[in-house]
Structures are given as structure tokens and as C-alpha cells.
Amino acid sequence: MTVHLARLALPYPFELSFMQRALVAGLVVGAFAPMIGTFLVQKRMSLIGDGIGHLAFAGVAFGAVAGIYPLWTALAVSVAGSLGLERLRAKRRASGDLALALFFYSGIALGIVLLSRELNPTNVLVYLFGQILTVNDGEVITILALGVVVAAAILAVRRPLFAVVADEEWARVAGLPVGLLNNLLAVTTAVAVVASMRVVGILLVAGLMVLPVASAQLLARSFRGTMGWAMAIGVGSVVVGLVASRLWNLASGGTIVLVAAATFAVVALIAGARSRGGLLRGIGLRSAGSILGDSHSADTLPR
């Protein structure tokens, strides 16, 4: 069954149907990738999107060799891998970053080996670097469907999921289903990575998940506000990135993530100008804030 999306009367640069497809796919991914990223950053697993992206690469290569639509093989491998990764982390068989490294390199090596059997490996490049301007109607609908499922699942459990990523030991003692919620986050991360492949590419997926969150945590003063700002910045980065891509004929995956990075630079500078600690906070040197003077330190007594 072939599905065609209606073409809307939008102004330049979105007047053409391929730009409209790119816009719809980009807006969906721009919103839900940072939504999941907010939980991942809080859990100190900012780079998991990158690790799962490497697994998705193996899945894409398998699909290309086996003649199966690569999005589905990538989805299968990524979901299975994300559950394995979470299991390794939860059982403490390997530390978080070591578990990631195991999956990073196994995935990319498997992908390379599989691709050596493929006659035309350039087909895989659209997944590695993302070519949002070439997505077809069927892909837009797939991305839209995956996005709705992920967003609905995360919104439904946002409060207990926040409790788990903020304080896992407390959540466990309180009897929250820590394993179930961690697995749900792992699976939705995998789905988000796969849905984002065609938009920004495997190599840049984690950037779209995490960079808007880095800006948002400087702007917001609550977890909910951080998620809202991150989604807004993600969507904004996609729109501006697409316009830049059309205007100057640049690779859209790169322009989208560069806009997200530039947004962080601007936000961090403004936050830094407002309070000297702000810039340091922005670049992760939180402890340096206390050197600059912690107004609450008088509240504590020596032990």
C-alpha cells in the first residue's frame, strides 16, 4: 500500500513537497529526541544514544545485505541491544561507560563485516549521515507513528520515570518498578534513535537528543520546564537547520545539530553574563561554582 501526504501551501523554503516531508519528519524527531534525552542526561547516560546508534548501524547493514527494509532491522537490533545494555548496567557486570564501549564497537564492527558482503554499500550512507530531504511519504508516516508511540509512553510514565532516574536507590526501596521503567526508557531510546536515523543520521542522533537538553537545563528551573525547553529547542533547531540546508545547499543532519550546538553556546554565554557561575555550570564545571562562592554555605555546620 502506498500512502501519499497532502502538499500544503507553505512559504519558501518549505513550498516544495520534499521540504514539507522533511519538515514533518524533523519536527517529530526534534520534539521527542530531546524529550527522551532529558531523562538520559539526568541518568548520566548522555552517550547511550550514540551507543545504540552504532547498533542501529549493524541493523541497517544486516537489512541491506538481507534485502529487508533497513529501518525494521535497525529497530530490531537496537531494541534488543538497548535491553542488553540496560541489563549489563543494572546487574553491574560492567560499568556504564564500559558497557557502552562493548556495544559501540561490537555494533560498528558487525556492521562493517556485514557491509563487506554488500555490493553497493553507499545505500547505507543515508542512514549514517541522514538525508532528511530524501525521505518519502512512507518513511514520514513511520517516523510519525514511532514518535507518537514513544511520546505517549514517556508522557504516561514521566513522574515515576523521573523518580527512578533522579534517585534509583530510593525508587527501589519505595517499591517502584525500577527494572520495568529502566527497560522502557532503554526501548524508547532505541526507537527514537532509529526514527531519527533518516533525519540527522546515526552519527548525530545523540547530538539531537542531548544538546537541546544542555541548553534547556540552563534556562529552566524545574525538570518539567527543562523537558519543555529541550523539546522547543529541538524543534527550533530542526526548522532553522532545514532552512540553512536549503539556502546554502548543506547537509541537513549537520546543520540541525550545529544549530542545536550554537544555541547552547548562546544560552551559556547569556547565562554566564547573568551570573559568573552560569557559564561554568553550562560547560559542566558545576563544582567550580562553589569556588566562586556558594551563598548557602553558611547554612551548614561543621561535622
Binding site: A166, S222, G225, D299, T300
Partner: protein, 267 residues
């Protein structure tokens, strides 16, 4: 170190409920991380409405005992009961409020006092359910009881250590627990926070009949409210009312340094 976050099965013989109605009970519990015993034949119990302090020198096994009681660690031998049930069979987890030992929250993402405290309602209400007006009211009451009502919208990672610890105490209060377990909750917090802490514990015990198990070096703030003091150093050295402990010359309240110094002398 073998830290097992899962809760393992206990033998059938362990299915008997506690005979004396204790909220929590450890019987002949021993525990080892592999190199020598951390706990050796420890038996303690906390009953309803009872305020019990657990003290001991550094490395005496206090935090390990709490983790065993809470089911976060499995004892090498002996048995544990929470509300008469083995930790792995105990499902009404909201009945157990827990404040962990931690210096401060170091989070990348700002989360407000209200967001953190409201999480305490999840185990009580059912984590899949929406928060209702009653949950918001109880959350507000929990914040007020530790004098953080005015700071409800402030990000926790911008608060002082004492204010952060009060946030976690309020989160425990929000689940309206029958037993509150606190690990060094007032270490390094200001005098006002300590007074607020004492008042809210007294309220929890008097109004709700809750039991409290408090691990702390600083008992001065709560000395007059305590029912019992348990002194631990691998095994229980003393278990009785504070007056009996003070009769041995140890001061809990007048000179704040006395108890810690005395405890260090136990090494």
C-alpha cells in the same frame, strides 16, 4: 564489594510473621562483604510509635544493617522482617519511608523541591495513577512540615546541603509512612533545620503512630524524644532507654560532642 540490589528468596521457615507486632525486626543477622564480618549476630526491633536511634563508630556496620533491614542486601545468616514479612515478599513499600545518607544532590537537570517531594506520593498512590488534589495537599503539607513551603519552586540543586536533606525527608513524609528509616539525616544541617526535623518527627510519631529508626552521630536535637538507643559495633553493645546509657556517663544532649567522642572510644 557484592552489592545486590535485587532481593533474594528466603527459606519457607522464614514465613512466620513477627510475634510481637514489630514494624521491623532483625534476628541474629550476620553480614560480610567477603573480608571479615561487618555485622555479627545482630538482633534489633522497632515497634509502632517507637523512636529508636542507632549509633556506633564509623565503620561499625550501621548503614549495612539498614540496607539489610530494607532488603537492599541479603544477610549472610539470620532473618529480617518488615511488617512481619520477608523483605522480598513485602509489597506495601509505601509503609516504609527511607532517607538515604548523602551529602548533597548533584544533578545536571534542575528539579524543584515540589517535584522531588511529590515523588514520595508515587509508592503510596500507585505509580501509574495521576496525582489528585489530595496528593498535592499532602505534598504541600510535607514541604511545610520541614519549612520548605516557601521554596517549593526552587531547584533542589541550588539549595544548601541542609535544605536538600530536608527535601528528601519531606519526600519520605509524603508517603505517610508507618516506619521511617533515616541514615544520618541531620549530619551537617543548620540548627533551624534540626529543630524543624525534630518537630516533624515528633508529629509523625504522635499523630500517625509511626515508628522511627534514626542513624545519627548527632542526637542532641532529638535526645529528649528518644525511646531507645542502640549502640552497634559489629554486634549490639547496648540497647535500652537513653537514661540508662546516660547513667554510664555518656551525654546525648548537653555537650554535643560527648556521644561521638565516646563512640570513637569504642574502637
Amino acid at each position: 564489594m557484592s552489592y545486590d540490589p535485587g532481593i533474594d528468596s528466603h527459606s519457607r521457615e522464614d514465613e512466620r510473621p513477627a510475634a510481637d507486632g514489630s514494624l521491623v525486626e532483625a534476628e541474629h543477622v550476620s553480614f560480610s562483604y567477603g573480608d571479615g564480618p561487618v555485622l555479627d549476630d545482630v538482633s534489633i526491633a522497632v515497634g509502632p510509635g517507637e523512636f529508636v536511634a542507632l549509633v556506633g563508630p564509623n565503620g561499625s556496620g550501621k548503614t549495612t544493617l539498614l540496607k539489610v533491614i530494607l532488603g537492599l542486601l541479603r544477610p549472610t545468616s539470620g532473618r529480617v522482617r518488615i511488617f512481619g514479612q520477608a523483605p522480598d515478599r513485602f509489597s506495601e513499600r509505601w509503609r516504609l519511608g527511607y532517607v538515604l545518607q548523602r551529602p548533597e544532590l548533584t544533578s545536571e537537570i534542575p528539579a524543584t523541591v515540589e517535584e522531588v517531594v511529590a515523588a514520595g506520593r508515587l509508592p503510596r498512590r500507585g505509580w501509574w495513577r495521576r496525582m489528585g488534589p489530595a496528593d498535592r495537599e499532602i505534598t504541600r503539607h510535607a514541604m511545610d512540615s520541614v519549612a520548605l513551603g516557601a521554596m517549593r519552586s526552587r531547584p533542589v540543586n541550588e539549595l544548601s546541603g541542609g535544605q536538600q536533606q530536608r527535601t528528601f525527608i519531606a519526600r519520605a513524609f509524603a508517603s505517610e509512612p508507618d516506619l521511617l528509616v533515616l541514615d544520618e539525616p541531620i549530619a551537617g544541617i543548620d540548627r533551624e533545620s534540626q529543630d524543624r526535623f525534630r518537630e516533624s518527627l515528633a508529629h509523625l510519631i504522635a499523630e500517625h503512630g509511626a515508628g522511627v529508626l534514626l542513624v545519627s552521630h548527632e542526637l542532641s536535637a532529638v535526645a529528649r524524644d528518644l525511646d531507645r538507643v542502640i549502640v552497634l559495633k559489629q554486634h549490639v553493645l547496648f540497647d535500652g532507654p537513653p537514661s540508662e546509657l546516660m547513667a554510664t556517663g555518656v551525654s546525648l544532649g548537653v555537650h554535643r560532642e560527648d556521644l561521638p567522642l565516646w563512640l570513637e572510644g569504642l574502637r
